[in-house]
């Protein structure tokens, strides 16, 4: 058998729809590329009931392996683990539900050439419920106020990229959504291509408050990680300085009134507010310093650059 070139990672962790049909369509689409490929199904324990149908698909001739975990895990971990097990140089992440027509998957691989080391999908035109689109637009609107470059569809789990990217970025928690941004930060070239959204992806999705809250913190995390990676004091220091500034002005005002206008300070709730801001400002600054300490002491391990290659090494 010739060496495997493409490894398709299918994390079965959150949502699963028509998985056996879908995998077969993926299989047929990939077969058209004439490149040897393999599937890796990473199954989270709550979806163990899908294992028999996956085994049946493999028995039908889909080249693949099932990897089960003893504990439930997220998509980010699945991609990281899948990347370590992959034989192919090209990693393709696929979703166990249909986001785009499987027939268009080969387009990603075709675009992955030359300088481009990662290809992601922008589902366009989108045909799902306007409520979904609104959620997505807000999410990307906030993200793109800070992020550079600006991508339009972080929610699409279908991506193709070179395996070396996974060596330079660390994936955990919910960071899988931001792989393109993290890869760009490490100097890889990312290309977004438009592919129409599949009608099967079009139904309305409403999530619980916990999910939305989680997304907000994901946003903050990625902004912090990409913008203030090497300079935590600037992130915390800005907030700290604002708090300190307000509180010092306020305390000055109260002090003046106490000294020159004989207004008693001891029974003013405002004094508590300003003191609290003072304390908060000092705390934020101190946390920023702790962050700087971490960066400084670990700088030798986390090199501030990535090397493509060394000539004559």
């Amino acid at each position: 058998m010739t060496a495997i070139e493409i490894t398709a990672i299918v994390p079965i962790t959150e949502r699963v729809e028509h998985v056996d049909q879908l995998i077969l369509s993926y299989h047929h689409a990939l077969a058209k590329l004439n490149k040897p490929y393999e599937f890796l199904f990473l199954v989270s324990p709550q979806w163990n009931n899908y294992k028999p149908s996956l085994e049946a698909i493999i028995a039908q001739g889909v080249p693949g392996k099932i990897v089960s975990f003893s504990r439930s895990f997220g998509e980010a971990t699945a991609i990281q683990v899948g990347g370590e097990m992959a034989h192919g140089d090209i990693i393709l992440t696929l979703t166990p539900y249909e986001q785009i027509a499987p027939e268009s998957i080969p387009q990603l691989i075709e675009n992955l050439q030359g300088e481009t080391q990662m290809v992601i999908v922008n589902r366009s035109p989108r045909i799902d419920a306007s409520f979904n689109q609104l959620q997505s637009r807000w999410f990307h609107g906030i993200l793109n106020m800070f992020a550079d470059p600006k991508f339009n569809d972080m929610g699409c789990g279908i991506r193709a990229f070179r395996k070396e990217i996974l060596k330079e970025i660390r994936l955990y928690g919910d960071l899988h959504r931001f792989i393109p941004l993290l890869a760009h930060q490490q100097g890889f070239k990312v290309k977004e291509i438009d592919i129409p959204q599949s009608p099967r992806d079009a139904h309305r999705r409403v999530y619980g408050a916990k999910t939305y809250l989680g997304r907000i913190f994901d946003l903050l995390t990625i902004i912090f990680l990409t913008k203030f990676n090497q300079k935590p004091l600037r992130f915390f220091g800005a907030g700290g300085a604002i708090c300190l500034g307000i509180s010092l002005l306020g305390l000055l005002y109260i002090g003046m009134e106490r000294l020159f206008f004989d207004v008693a300070a001891a029974d003013r709730p405002l004094l508590v507010v300003f003191s609290l801001l003072l304390v908060l400002g000092v705390q934020l600054g101190a946390i920023g310093l702790v962050g700087e300490t971490i960066i400084f002491t670990h700088a030798k391990n986390s090199r501030p650059y990535t090397i493509r290659k060394i000539v004559n090494d």
Binding site: V272, S275, T293, I307, N312
Partner: protein
């Protein structure tokens, strides 16, 4: 190639017109070190043909290595990459724009071998624009000198010669290359300054402007704080925590007085508790920092090379007179 004596690190960013000339000048300037030096060109994500030209030269010259970055990271990371990959016990860094003159290198290396840890170039006759480059730089140097207590006249000069064992331990990120000498001398390293030649730019554009100054100063303050912090984290935070503690104690007695007179105490008591809380918070952070430093790969005693390492140093670097008797030991063993 056997172990070189000298590594020359040159960060390059969009320097296609300068690369070849740069290489030739270094080679001719280092005639006395022929066969005993290596050059590291670090291509910092150039958008022009810099990398192609440099690789072309490297194909014919095995002592040249070219490190290719995935994107533009800046001068400090480029120097860090060169230093991390250098193989010689003495490392030279210089700009890739021909403003530094490689002919100064032999003198600086000789100076280093007199027993210094780092030799810094001083562009005493600087060929740059007065308002946008020279004046801001002079101000920055004054401030860096004041803050660190080490009056180095030209921190910004890239032409520097280091002992590799010291530099390889040094954390190196953001814009730190400009106060490396100051930082090292804070730790007790011996720093020498040598006047070097400086040429006006021939090709290409200067990539650095005024906006850097505030970043440099911010980084400097931060590094100085972190350095003084991590040698004694708990003590450092306790010192800071003393201030809120004193205020809290004063408020405590004032509250006691209020109680005895039957006055309202809520506001003062609340503030007192908040300040006490802040004291505990800061002291706890001290312990967290202690833990961070304790678990980190950084060893401060190695950044500060101090005199204790002088013996080891003499073994690492052959003294300059050993050059005149080209190594005859390999011949004997052969």
């Amino acid at each position: 190639m056997n172990q070189p004596e000298l590594s020359i690190v040159v960060p390059l960013y969009n320097e296609q017109d300068n690369v070849t000339l740069m290489f030739e000048r270094i080679v001719s300037a280092l005639e006395p070190f022929k066969g005993k030096f290596e050059i590291l060109f670090v291509n910092d994500g150039s958008k022009d043909k810099t990398f192609e030209i440099a690789s072309g030269i490297a194909a014919k010259n095995p002592f040249l290595r070219v490190i290719d970055f995935r994107k533009n990271y800046g001068q400090t990371p480029a120097m860090a990459a060169g230093i991390d990959n250098a193989r010689a016990p003495v490392i030279v860094t210089m700009d890739g724009d021909l403003q530094n003159d490689p002919s100064d290198i032999p003198d600086m290396v000789a100076k280093l071998r007199e027993g210094y840890d780092i030799v810094v170039g001083w562009r005493h006759n600087r060929q740059d624009k007065l308002v946008t480059r020279k004046i801001p730089s002079r101000i920055a140097n004054k401030i860096i000198g004041k803050v660190t207590g080490v009056p180095i006249k030209d921190n910004g000069c890239s032409l520097k010669v280091y002992r590799a064992d010291v530099m390889k331990q040094m954390p190196f990120y953001n814009e730190m290359h400009r106060f490396i000498p100051a930082l090292l001398s804070l730790g007790g390293a011996k720093v020498a300054e040598v006047k070097v030649k400086h040429h006006a730019r021939q090709f290409g554009e200067s990539k650095y402007g005024l906006s850097r100054i505030y970043k440099v100063l911010f980084d400097l303050l931060m590094i100085k704080t972190v350095l003084s912090l991590i040698s004694h984290p708990v003590r450092w935070f306790v010192r800071i925590a003393l201030l809120p503690l004193v205020f809290a104690a004063a408020l405590f007695f004032s509250v006691l007085g209020d109680i005895s007179q039957g006055d309202p105490i809520v506001v003062n008591a609340t503030i007192m508790l908040m300040l006490t809380n802040l004291t505990f918070f800061l002291v706890s952070l001290g312990f967290v920092c202690e833990l961070i430093y304790n678990k980190s790969p950084l060893d401060l005693s190695k950044i500060a090379p101090l005199t204790a390492q002088v013996d080891a140093y003499e073994q690492h670097i052959p003294l300059s007179d050993s050059q005149d008797t080209p190594s005859d030991t390999p011949e004997k063993s052969a």
